[in-house]
Symmetry: C3
């Protein structure tokens, strides 16, 4: 914990009453004046710390915790040890987020521009925005208010960032319009040319015109070293609230609706559209020019080569509807585990 505190600084001491208010939960009657000193997981929390139980899978850890206070769903309240205060919340994980912010509030952007940042005189920087060392902001860029731009970032010519964006170190943003509260983790690449070319009669590749842009909706988050290519013509769009993990590839002219979730190392090829709240597991691949319906779910490592209707879950490579894919996997597993040599399994 010593090292953890190294990065967070000392937690703010916080009384039970404030915790209850933030958690929106009930409990702790008669101890409203008690003060807590930080947050920790169930298995390491001390009597001075607050923890939470994510779900039934953590029941054992809950029963053995030394935490002074545990945020917990109603159905698990009975497992909180006698020495802990149980605060009952409808969604303990969400409540824990609000409580943790009491102990470790995120400071607002400093509004300071590091003297080594290289900002073109024709760029517009909103009030309260912080800009890190060595960052380069080009002509015509328009940066909103209260943004936090890390060190060694490139914001290209005429890019637009809404208010309260957070752009971490080493990101590049070109040919892009970002909404409010967009977060780019380190090394994200937004707005570079897509992978499109034509072949001449003598076999040379000529880049197709890459003239479009990237539009990121409000509260979009893009993981470290992920890539979102600009459209060939028109726009590559990630809808509001969409969250993309690290090392994900988004091809040119891809469009997503709101609240899509793409886990690490997913790849979406050019011109594919995703509806709202589509989820794709790690390393899944979706080929180009497909339509993935809203709330479709794509399994980890799935290879999607056809449209997916709304609400459907697909697995496997090539991807198939969940039931069918699982049945095929079971058959294959049976064939593989059969004790007889494979060659003998052939029906007569």
């Amino acid at each position: 914990m010593a090292d953890e505190r190294r990065f967070l600084g000392p937690p703010r001491r916080t009384p039970l009453a404030a915790i209850l208010a933030a958690a929106g939960g009930d409990g702790g009657g008669g101890a409203a004046g008690r003060v807590f000193e930080g947050v920790a997981p169930l298995d390491t929390a001390s009597p001075a710390q607050v923890s939470f139980c994510e779900g039934r899978a953590y029941k054992d850890a809950l029963e053995q915790t030394s935490a002074g206070l545990v945020l917990v769903a109603p159905d698990l309240a009975g497992f909180v040890p006698a020495g802990s205060i149980a605060v009952i919340c409808r969604d303990a994980a969400l409540a824990f987020g609000r409580v943790a912010a009491l102990f470790h509030p995120v400071p607002p952007p400093s509004g300071q521009i590091h003297p080594s940042a290289i900002i073109h005189p024709d760029a517009v920087i909103g009030e309260g925005t912080e800009i890190g060392a060595g960052t380069v902001i080009c002509a015509g860029a328009e940066i909103g208010r209260n943004c936090r731009i890390g060190p060694l970032v490139l914001l290209g010519e005429r890019v637009v960032l809404g208010d309260e964006c957070i752009i971490h170190s080493h990101c590049s943003v070109t040919h892009a319009v970002l909404g409010r509260g967009v977060v780019l983790h380190p090394g994200a690449r937004i707005g570079q040319e897509g992978f499109g070319f034509n072949t001449t009669a003598d076999g040379r590749f000529i880049t197709a015109p890459q003239l479009g842009l990237v539009r990121l909706g409000d509260a979009v988050e893009i993981g470290a070293n992920s890539c979102v290519d600009r459209a060939a013509l028109g726009e590559t769009v990630l809808g509001p609230g969409t969250r993309i993990d690290n090392l994900v590839q988004i091809g040119h002219n891809v469009r997503t609706g709101r609240g899509c979730v793409l886990v690490s190392q997913v790849g979406v090829s050019g011109s594919t559209t995703l509806g709202d709240y589509v989820m794709a597991g790690g390393q899944a691949g979706i080929t180009g020019h497909l339509k993935i319906g809203s709330k479709a779910r794509i399994g980890a490592q799935a290879g999607v080569m056809n449209d997916v209707p709304p609400g459907i879950e697909v697995l496997g490579s090539p991807a198939a509807p969940k039931k069918e894919a699982i049945r095929a996997m079971l058959v294959l597993k049976r064939l593989g585990s059969d004790s007889r040599p494979a060659a003998k399994q052939k029906p007569e």
Copy 2:
């Protein structure tokens, strides 16, 4: 479109005659003086704009377009609406590229070196080359003429770049010799040590000597955040015209011929050689020390564990020839979709 114009600037107004000359196509008789104002996809183009039809899959969009002029292959000319000028080209996509460049010409490199760039006095920079803010160029580097080096790039000691290279922001290039017209997209990593080590008797890993280099042929393009490792001994080589998408891994001592195409998130392990014009779909993996013949085609997500003869298409993981792989997938699909429980499918 307002935002698209934001990044492109206003298109140059271009007369029909110039468009015909660039397209190398026929059409528009009697309207040679008509002037156009930009390019757009079929579905959004206005009567003042030029569009193109990529192929038969876009026939419906073609029939409904409002574009003032459409570049189109001979067999689709009959579907161009009455209000549009049909310009018939053998390859409409290639022609469109040339026409789009009339409206949106790419300005030549400025030849300016940003005062914040850190260039070692022993580096040689060719005439006309542009160097971005915060870029670091080390001793002994030799940069050709009319290159465009973006901001925050590292060009390491003694690297060589041919004329007209384009190196986008945040790239690192070390231990590498680049031909003419090489393009590196943001965050590409060229020339770092490969993943090679030996194990001591007591179980420690010792890095094997990584003494070689990377050689990129003329007109090679490498996508954003892709990695090409230097050879252990000798050279890692990408042949002329080879195009590599984003987030691709090229291991040490890999060698490709000319015109290979590796789509996003492909991985090629150490010492594998590819012939000319090999294509690999997204997320395919090729293990080390293999030989992939010229014009071989490797499907998306394929896992190649054996040599592939020239001209062969392989699919699946482990990869098999296309026909065999598809038959296996169909069998598996049938087994999966069978209505009877899996356990009953076992032959008697």
Copy 3:
């Protein structure tokens, strides 16, 4: 070789006696005064150069080599041509590494801090440490002795680096404690927020608290553009000597033991633990909250969805024990290669 020498500089001329001493091998009787001029692979080495034979797979190259001296295992000594000196070593690859370092010694860090580096006055930099151009080191960072920090690196607030770390260009390190001799290749991302969020009643995603850190043990190596996320609470840990290739994803709260090896484009999801000496092939994926036992081996492109016991090898997606997975692959291959139409294979 001319270009190779370009990056290495001229090799130091080295007498046989020094080579024998470094190799810990026997051979070359009577030629102790002979001097060599470099190292090269078997197929290109000249009589003035030293080479080595990695194993029986290279027997043909060994028999045809022109190398003046070959480091070779006892069982291959008989295949060294008459014109070459055979130096017999228990582990020729390890010996070659030591010998190559005689010809191409790595110079120690220069101890120079480039004047363009931006180092907060509250950062502590150890003696002998070299810092590259444009690098940013934040308040409270503690950097050990004899480290080599490349250009355009970010070392965030209060990070800790042990002695003799090598951090290549464009890396970002935040919320992290690094042991001694850690190596980060270009563009590695260490310590950013993980991919964790909760969903509000109205469908918005709220980032879960990301308050933990990354701990990298002594001699850990991380490949180019790989990502290691900080823990939500507690620590993400890579044990001593663990080696990670390029473009690998390590989710928050992952923990590995010592000496794990993860090949390029592997992904390990949050909270999974790996024992000691676990190996995962390229593009393998491991889902979250699993336990992978020590010395387990995970095949390339495998999809691991369940715990793996110690010492077990698994293959395929979903991953199964090697024997079972191979049998299933063979059955599938047979089904795919069968000449009869798939529909007729159904048992009666």
